[in-house]
């Protein structure tokens, strides 16, 4: 044991942490992910849009997470927005919708090459106090180091225990189309 051993030993874990962090630091994010939903029935078309959702994607593991404030969804009609928050999604009690998932074939995404990748995303969507598994196809478009992710899928309103009174059941679709669009930039650079 000599006197240099201690600094060397100290350096080792540090180097290791740095290495691990570098390896995992290929993260991408946005605070302006757009989420839209569309309810389409013969009587009424309803849509709402949220343009301030958070999204983080970890290129090293393929994990992707979204978070959207329910109150951030905007409707053309003020009363619909009020009812959406008060009666349907109960945003005071359940303020956020959160998706945590995994991109299956994430390894083929190379941020250095401008290409479009079609990928599969699966994970859990938590909304209105209910968690449901969701699987959807998404397109990841690599452009100049940024990733543009788009996806479209359907969710069943009843799955999330959103009650629709019989009086308006013909005006609100049982399955709502959800569109997601997020332009992700590298995190921490």
């Amino acid at each position: 044991m000599n006197k240099y051993l201690f600094p060397r030993l100290f350096f080792l874990p540090l180097a290791c942490i740095v290495f691990v962090n570098v390896a995992c630091s290929q993260k991408y994010f946005t605070k302006n992910a757009q989420i839209g939903f569309f309810s389409d029935t013969p009587i009424e078309k309803i849509e709402a849009h949220n343009t301030t959702s958070n999204c983080v994607f970890d290129l090293a593991t393929g994990r992707i997470e979204f978070s959207a404030l329910i109150k951030g969804f905007q409707f053309e009609r003020a009363l619909m927005q009020e009812h959406f928050n008060e009666n349907y999604l109960e945003s005071d009690q359940f303020p956020k919708a959160i998706f945590k998932g995994q991109i299956d074939n994430y390894r083929k995404i190379d941020p250095a090459k401008n290409t479009k990748h079609i990928v599969r995303v699966s994970g859990e969507l938590n909304m209105h106090g209910v968690s449901r598994s969701i699987t959807a196809q998404a397109v990841i478009d690599v452009k100049d180091g940024n990733l543009k992710a788009t996806s479209e899928f359907q969710i069943a309103v009843a799955d999330f225990q959103v009650e629709i009174p019989s009086l308006v059941k013909d005006q609100i679709a049982k399955n709502v189309k959800v569109k997601v669009e997020a332009t992700l930039k590298p995190l921490g650079k």
Partner: protein, 296 residues
């Protein structure tokens, strides 16, 4: 010693990995936003009173107010159902905090108009504001034929003005309460014992029974010595029932008039004598100007 450090190394690396796996969203700092508290009442009226709420910007609200006769009319009047007074009104939201309205009541053939500005909005988050407050200015012109056409009558004698401050809070999901200090000015009064300016304080609340049904109550206290002795304070109890674009308000009230100068300062019915009207308001909203929503 060496093993010890290696262990730490391994542990720190793993922990670092683990932390990154757990919650990606926590990597983003959440910006604190101001969240406005909405829907303290289902519509912009409690029963007769203006509530804390405004008509949303770009929305037209068509109101039908209807009061049957009083219950003490007995069987002969079918407990009031033989008679009716109505008010038809239109409220329009210039913006989310500024509403204008017009109405016409059959009671004393009165036209009325108002402006209402919500200058404080209850909010949480970045800007924390415990209450909402609105200013209401109304005027009314009564167009009954002159009682004494032979004397000099002035148009100004037909005019009434109300200034009201509405201060309140949505305490939780189901309970909201408001106070409204009010001044009603009458250009002409019946006798010289009555004051032209009448001051009072109203209290109103609602309690939600279900998501779409609430029970509402309102009471107007008048300071003593301002009005004739037969004038009674207005007290109303009722339900709000919301069905999509409509709000139905069903209630019992001792006020015949549905506008401020009437139900505050001209109310002669008393609950004790059965001078109670059954009545309803129907509110139907139409979106005239759709909000611009950034679309994907």
């Amino acid at each position: 010693m060496r093993t010890y450090f290696l262990l730490i190394t391994a542990f720190v690396c793993l922990a670092s990995l683990k932390a990154q796996q757990d919650d990606l969203l926590s990597l983003l700092e959440e910006e604190e936003t101001t969240e406005y508290i909405n829907a303290s009442f289902k519509t912009n009226r409690v029963i007769n009173f203006h509530s804390l709420e405004n008509t949303a910007g770009g929305v037209l609200d068509f109101k039908i107010g209807h009061r049957f006769g009083t219950l003490n009319g007995g069987f002969y009047e079918l407990f009031g159902l033989d008679n009716a007074t109505i008010r038809l009104g239109l409220d329009y939201g210039i913006s989310d905090v500024f509403t204008v309205g017009l109405g016409r009541s059959s009671y004393q053939k009165t036209y009325d108009g108002y402006v209402k500005y919500k200058w404080l909005r209850q909010s949480t988050g970045k800007r924390n504001m415990p209450i909402s407050a609105a200013l209401l200015l109304t005027s009314a012109v009564q167009t009954l034929a002159w009682a004494n056409p032979e004397r000099d009558n002035f148009f100004s004698s037909r005019l009434y003005y109300t200034t009201q401050l509405i201060i309140g809070r949505k305490f939780n999901e189901s309970f909201s309460l408001q106070l409204s200090p009010t001044m009603v000015h009458r250009n002409l009064v019946r006798t010289n014992t009555e004051k032209n300016d009448v001051y009072g304080v109203g209290a109103a609340g609602r309690f939600k029974l279900t998501k779409r049904i609430s029970v509402n109550a309102e009471y107007m206290y008048l300071l003593p010595g301002q009005v004739a002795s037969d004038i009674k304070p207005s007290l109303s109890l009722g339900f709000d029932i919301e069905t999509g674009g409509h709000v139905f308000q069903l209630h019992f009230t001792n006020s015949t008039s549905m506008i401020e100068k009437g139900f505050i300062a001209e109310n002669t019915n008393s609950w004790a004598d059965g001078g109670i009207h059954f009545g309803f308001n129907v509110s139907r909203v139409f979106t005239i100007v759709r909000k611009k929503v950034p679309v994907i």
